[in-house]
């Protein structure tokens, strides 16, 4: 009974990603999109927090929003999978529910 969570806020601006990861269950998926993709970067003040709190969930990032922001694919932290919109749709369909952290 897994949930797909989406987060669209930069973790440098507010607590939404932290709150999401604090409520996600083992085996859930978390997709970072829009400004949320900044939370997927390696070598930032948030990288370790995201890796630590996200250890029990599957982390994804929306590739279109990564490229739009000029983030090189090599800067996406290890263990975070980049997906396109069709894969996003597929994830929403295969989970039991979607929770959008706004």
């Amino acid at each position: 009974m897994a949930t797909l969570h989406t987060v669209n806020k930069s973790p440098f601006q507010n607590q939404t990603l932290i709150s999401c990861l604090g409520h996600a269950k083992v085996g859930d998926s978390v997709l970072l999109m829009e400004d949320g993709v900044y939370g997927a970067m390696s070598g930032t003040a948030m990288s370790e927090v995201v890796a630590g709190m996200g250890a029990n969930v599957k982390l994804f990032v929306l590739g279109a929003d990564v490229s739009a922001r000029g983030i090189d694919a090599s800067r996406v932290a290890e263990g975070i999978t980049s997906v396109n919109y069709e894969e996003f749709v597929g994830m929403a369909a295969s989970c039991d529910r979607v929770q959008n952290w706004l």
Binding site: T3, T16, S19, G22, H23, K25, R97, Q99, W101, L102
Partner: protein, 135 residues
């Protein structure tokens, strides 16, 4: 309509600074007519929506906080409030409005609508839903 789904309205934003809290309440009141299994979740800044003593006169805004106390009439009786979110903001249950519902099956006994849950408990509530609408 025979389908009954579990609906959760997630409130994570403070009132007044933005319209989300107020328009969320409008959804809940309308949604109550559809005979679904409805719950509301208040966490992060959303717990500020339920505080006592809101007085919007000087700010020139509509005070919608009394409307939370009408939810029981609409059979919305499960308001989950997260303990950690209260703690982080220096709030206790006493700082929140007393929100109750009348149990018709129990001689109209008044019962509290606010259910304080831990973060883990809130995660369980969320994971138990069919539809989650976030505001």
């Amino acid at each position: 309509m025979s389908i009954v789904k579990k609906f959760l309205y997630v409130n994570r934003k403070a009132p007044y600074g933005t319209i989300y809290a107020q328009e969320a309440l409008e959804v809940v009141l309308i949604g109550a007519a559809f005979d679904q299994d409805v719950s509301m979740a208040f966490l992060d800044d959303g717990v500020f929506q339920l505080t006592k003593g809101q007085d919007t006169k000087e700010a020139g805004l509509k005070n919608f906080s009394p409307t939370f106390r009408a939810l029981g009439d609409y059979e919305v009786t499960k308001l989950y409030v997260e303990q950690e979110s209260l703690d982080e903001r220096g709030l206790t249950l006493d700082d929140l409005q007393d929100i109750q519902w009348e149990d018709e099956d129990d001689d109209y006994a008044e019962k509290p609508s606010i259910i304080v849950v831990s973060r883990a408990g809130m995660a369980d509530v969320m994971a138990d839903q069919d539809v989650i609408l976030s505001f």
